[in-house]
Amino acid sequence: MTTIVRFTFILLYLCVALFDATNVSANDILDLSIENELLESELALSQKAKVYFIFNLKDKKVSMRTRGATLKELPIVKVKAWNLRIPVKPQALLKRSTLFEPRREDIKPQEKETGSSDKFEIDALELDDMPSRFNLILADGVVITVRPTPRGVLSYLENMGYSLFWHISRPLLTAWDFLGKKPYSSIYISMEKMDAQSLYWSFYEGSQCIIYNP
């Protein structure tokens, strides 16, 4: 009796192991197919003398790349995706939208200071002037929302509120765009403030990117 029970257990274990092995193989095929899609898309982009971006949602990072070489990597702290079933293909940034767009200073020659002063202020468009809360609107109805990681209680509460709004509004936007026969996908990315500003600085209208979300 004990032998039969033991034999049944061994048989069951072997069946599970065999099923698991075939399953792993199927996952490997899927993972490799998606990775190959990414590489094919990257190969197309890297032929051009332009900087492109890879939003790697799996490894949580945004890579700025050119000709297959990484120029800069910006870590993503938190990522959420909604209705994201888009192919791993190059996509162009159509628009960056933010509440307060950075403004360029106009140089007024007549107002130029002539005397030397210890207090020297630079009027320039610098990284600090870039927003850290913005939306990146891509072709194919993909919207990437970038927010800074919260610092302090108020910022944390504000972030929680926005997160709630994001979750509530996504189905409504999906339904609205579905009725308008337009695709809609959304990604929420939380980054360190300076990284978010760097992304705004470098990723401008017309730039190409690939979203990798295996």
């Binding site: 000709r67 360029r104 140089i107 130029k112 870039m130 189905p171 339904a175």
Partner: protein, 217 residues
């Protein structure tokens, strides 16, 4: 009174709430179930192994094709956001230097005919020229900015000593050059050129031949 209240309550809260919940549910349905699922072809384990092998070899080929495009020798990367220049050999950084890139300011010709935006151009370039003790041929904007009249004689445009000991030209009048304002290195203050400190510039000039790839981000 009670009836009226119930009706009002229905109108004000229940109906909009129902519409909202319906729309939410509809949106969720589309997001989670509204996609056509790709059916996985029934393949036996041998078929899968063959498929996996093919995918692996394709993966390796694609990786090597992408890698083959990346620079092998000396190349320069300039991060205009952080005002840092990276001198690289292949993908390895061999030197970092603090620089000054374009201020992004706007200057308009008083006549309103011309406008300059002082950005450092971004993209891929190459070192086109190497100059020792370069003279600055002051463009129109330099005179307009200083509130001076634009000279008719081209000799009046030449100014020496302001660009440092060396300059590397990368096209359209843009240079990597030295600066008299080394205390402003690390800030966006230039008119589009890339200003580098004396020591870093000397090394950069020494190791970069004409044709070196320059990527500005």
């Amino acid at each position: 009174m009670n009836k009226l209240f119930t009706k009002k309550w229905l109108l004000i809260i229940v109906i909009p709430l129902s519409i909202f919940l319906l729309a939410e549910g509809f949106g969720c349905y589309i997001a989670f179930f509204g996609h056509k699922k790709g059916s996985e072809p029934a393949v036996n384990s041998k078929g899968r192994e063959r498929q996996l092998k093919e995918l692996r070899s394709k993966n390796a080929a694609l990786k090597s094709r992408v890698d083959s495009l990346s620079p092998r020798g000396i190349n320069i990367v300039v991060d205009t956001a952080r005002n840092v220049l990276y001198l690289k050999k292949g993908n390895r950084t061999i030197k970092e230097a603090v620089v000054s890139c374009g201020s992004g300011n706007v200057l308009e010709d008083p006549s309103g005919k011309k406008k300059w935006i002082f950005d450092t151009p971004r993209g891929e370039y190459s070192v086109k020229s190497k100059l020792i003790n370069p003279d600055w041929i002051k463009p129109d904007w330099a005179f307009i900015e200083e509130g001076e009249a634009i000279p008719q004689d081209s000799n009046d445009r030449v100014e020496n000593g302001v660009l440092g000991k060396y300059a590397l030209g990368f096209g359209n009048g843009y240079f990597i050059h030295g600066t008299l304002y080394s205390r402003l290195l690390g800030r966006n203050v230039s008119h589009g050129c890339i200003r580098v400190g004396d020591k870093d510039l000397e090394e950069l000039f020494r190791v970069t031949p004409v044709g070196t790839r320059l990527t500005i981000i």
